[in-house]
Amino acid sequence: MKLYKKEGNILQILSFSNETVEKGDYLLVEDAEAKKALIVQVIDVQFASIPGVLEELLRSLPDGGELIRGEDIDPLEIAPHITYIQDASLLICKIRATAENENLSPSSSWLPSRSQSTIKKLSLPMLLKLAKVDGKLPIVLGGTKDSSLLTIDASSLDGRLNIITGKKETGKSHLSKLLMVNLVGFKATVVVFDLNGEYLSLGMTTDGKRNAYYDKIHVLTPSQNFKLALNQLNLHVLLGILIHALHLPGTSAREFRRIWQALKERDSLTLHELGETIRNWNCNQHVRDALFSRYHALVNSGFFTDNVAEATLLEECLLKAKENGGAVIVNLRNTSAIDRQIVVEYVLGKLVDSLTSWKLKAVFLFAEEAHLYLRETYWDDIVTRMRHFGIFTTFITNQPDTIRENIYRQADNIFLFNFTNEHDLDVVSRAARVDAETVRSIARDLPPHYCLALGKVVRDFPIVAKVKALDVKTMGETRLFFKD
């Protein structure tokens, strides 16, 4: 390999057919004189612009587009040399860091010698060692191309905003499960908004037996084993549901506050009493109608109950998880859009409460297709305010444009699966921790189950890995018509 050109932080390297280099590989451009080396990543492999190649190709096709047949008597065997030159490739590489005395710096301000530099492949274990991608809380993400393991540190997810994205059936949920169970293994508290019921059997192995996480997985299905009694609720949590999920106008909300105070003073915070009070409350008819319609929405959701024994305390599950680590799976499958928003409003409000009062230290929140249940204002809340409370979110989506641009800009880690659509790639490439060329070039060619890890987990060295298999029972498979 030979150094050819440097433009900005793009390095072009000439490579020959006997040197097998692929997209995603790392190279070390070492300048012995300068005692420094550039660590570069191949983001594209192109044909080198060899003079005369066009003529070479054209003259083999002059006979009406068919190959002209003949015999080449090439006694000196020059033909392999022609092929060698013709097949030369140009590696478009992104400079990732400068290595100097085993220390890495993100600088690309120096220029290695074009004639004297040596270029060799940098194995991933060596790169990970140089980049110090290790730690005390290892999560094996999967295998890399050179048969080494990509191990990230769980603490690099701590306090971070993560995004897992890729097109359908590329393995996003699988990776989120992997991260989740590993976090649980390190005694972390995890809350999952499970839109398709995919996480319900995380406590079971593929053959249906209980696994090590069985006791740590708490599945809450709204209106089944997850119900609330009104007296367990704080007013501001319920108001949050009414205003944000059920769009209760401000005037009506003020009236509801008065009704709530009255019921609380009478110690009769039940659904039945709430309905009766609204019915008899002395207020404008329109306000009453507005309150009644929301009341019926709450009742019809089945999420609220007057039977305290029936009510599950989310807080209890969270506290259990806090002790030994655990995951609270909020099963949103078969839940209507309005009910989903009610449940999510409640869970998020409750989490903020618990975190504010330091009942919980921090929570890792996994939100699948969050645009289907998160209200507009929550996005900013999650990446700014809630992060300070200790809610560290991982968004999982196959529609990257449903996540706002500011979320991408603030994302600390991105786990990117295959995308072929230019628009999707454009959206993801807005992330601050990654350059657009890398995303566009590498993500487009990722096979299923291969993920490009970007951000702090890999110390800003984008690495491709095949996500390792997980011995948990898979759920959420697509229901098929043509299946026995």
Binding site: G52, V53, E55, R59, P62, G70, I73, I78, I82, I85
Partner: protein, 361 residues
């Protein structure tokens, strides 16, 4: 001096329409090529991409030349005939401290049963120095002629003439092979049928044409460029208002001895378009068969701007592309340990942007 024998044999088969083949020359080419390259081992060389231009200074005397105004009108004859063509190419690929490294390649193309086929020989790479040029050339001459160059020439060729001389030698050999192996075919040469120059000895050309005639072949030589003029105008520009294809016969061309014209000269305008070419036809062929030969050519080959496709392919196939030059440099660098050096370009050095003579990349 005895040339070291290398364990190399030429390819036993040679896909011409006929079987008997004299392989002496390619054998000598290979041996000489390898032998000459041995001498460059470890030397440094400078890249030089200046192509070698064949200088067409024939010493033809056009003062007496006339061009008949009546065109010889042609109708294509679709009688099946083999059309074959020969061309060679040479390029200087580098300079060493002792001489030059050149490459030579030749191609025979023939059209038979509406299909073009080719045989391409080379590239042969030679390191030619003042010391070995005589040995190189004489060995090739001996292989072809049976006697060395000095036998009928004064001194040895100039070093800078060596590439074209070696290429001409290969071209004559390829022409001989076609003449001796084809029957009743049309053989197309690149250039004229003027002989008596250092590159084209008269005797050799006569032998080639004689061998061709003996087997019923007719040689048609197309010149891409001509210097022949009538009344100050190039003969290929003096075209009558007539629908092609046709020939214009030129007469009265005399050559300064020892040069001899072995063909009769025509201007061939074979298709619509702007171009016409000088066409030399073996003068030993009677008028009728030679016109018939051009008609057969029209009926059996494709034409681009009056130029036959078979000859065009021969030219294309033997021409060196930049890619091949790189590959040959790679070959000599790897196999013979030559080191590439960049010697300053004196034109550039002295005259800056005005120095456009020598250049290297």
């Amino acid at each position: 001096m005895v040339i070291e024998q290398y364990p190399i044999t030429t390819t036993p088969k040679y896909n011409f329409p006929h079987q008997s083949m004299d392989v002496t020359l390619p054998q000598q080419f290979i041996e000489l090529s390898l032998h000459s390259l041995q001498s460059v081992h470890g030397q440094s060389f400078q890249l030089n991409q200046q192509p070698i231009q064949q200088i067409n200074n024939r010493g033809e005397h056009p003062q007496t030349l006339t061009l008949r105004h009546d065109p010889i009108l042609l109708e294509p004859t679709h009688q099946e005939s083999i059309v074959a063509a020969v061309d060679t190419s040479t390029i200087k690929i580098a300079e060493t401290t002792a001489g030059i490294v050149i490459a030579v390649r030749g191609a025979n193309v023939w059209k038979q049963n509406k299909t073009y086929r080719y045989t391409r020989l080379g590239p042969f790479i030679f390191h030619v120095t003042e010391e070995n040029k005589r040995e190189v050339y004489n060995t090739l001459e001996r292989a072809y002629f049976g006697y060395p160059y000095e036998h009928n020439h004064q001194g040895t060729p100039n070093l800078m003439q060596m590439p074209t001389r070696i290429a001409s030698l290969l071209e004559r050999w390829l022409q001989t092979m076609l003449s001796k192996t084809l029957d009743n075919a049309l053989i197309l040469f690149d250039g004229s049928l003027t002989s008596g120059t250092a590159d084209t000895p008269t005797q050799r050309m006569k032998e080639i044409l004689g061998a061709a005639r003996k087997r019923g072949n007719i040689v048609l030589a197309f010149s891409k460029v001509t210097t022949l003029r009538v009344n100050g105008h190039l003969i290929t520009d003096l075209l009558p208002e007539h629908k092609p294809p046709y020939l214009l016969e030129a007469a009265g061309l005399t050559l300064k001895p020892p040069m001899v014209l072995l063909g009769d000269v025509y201007v061939a305008k074979l298709t619509k378009g702007n171009l016409a070419f000088r066409l030399d036809i073996d003068r030993e062929i009677p008028f009728e068969p030679r016109i018939e030969a051009v008609r057969r050519l029209l009926g059996n080959d494709l034409f681009t701007e009056s130029y036959p496709e078979t000859l065009r392919l021969a030219h294309i196939l033997c021409t060196f592309t930049a890619n091949e030059v790189l590959a040959m440099r790679h070959f000599v660098t790897r196999r013979y340990g030559l080191q590439i050096i960049n010697r300053p370009d004196m034109h550039r050095l002295l005259f800056g942007p005005f120095g456009k003579g020598e250049s290297y990349s």
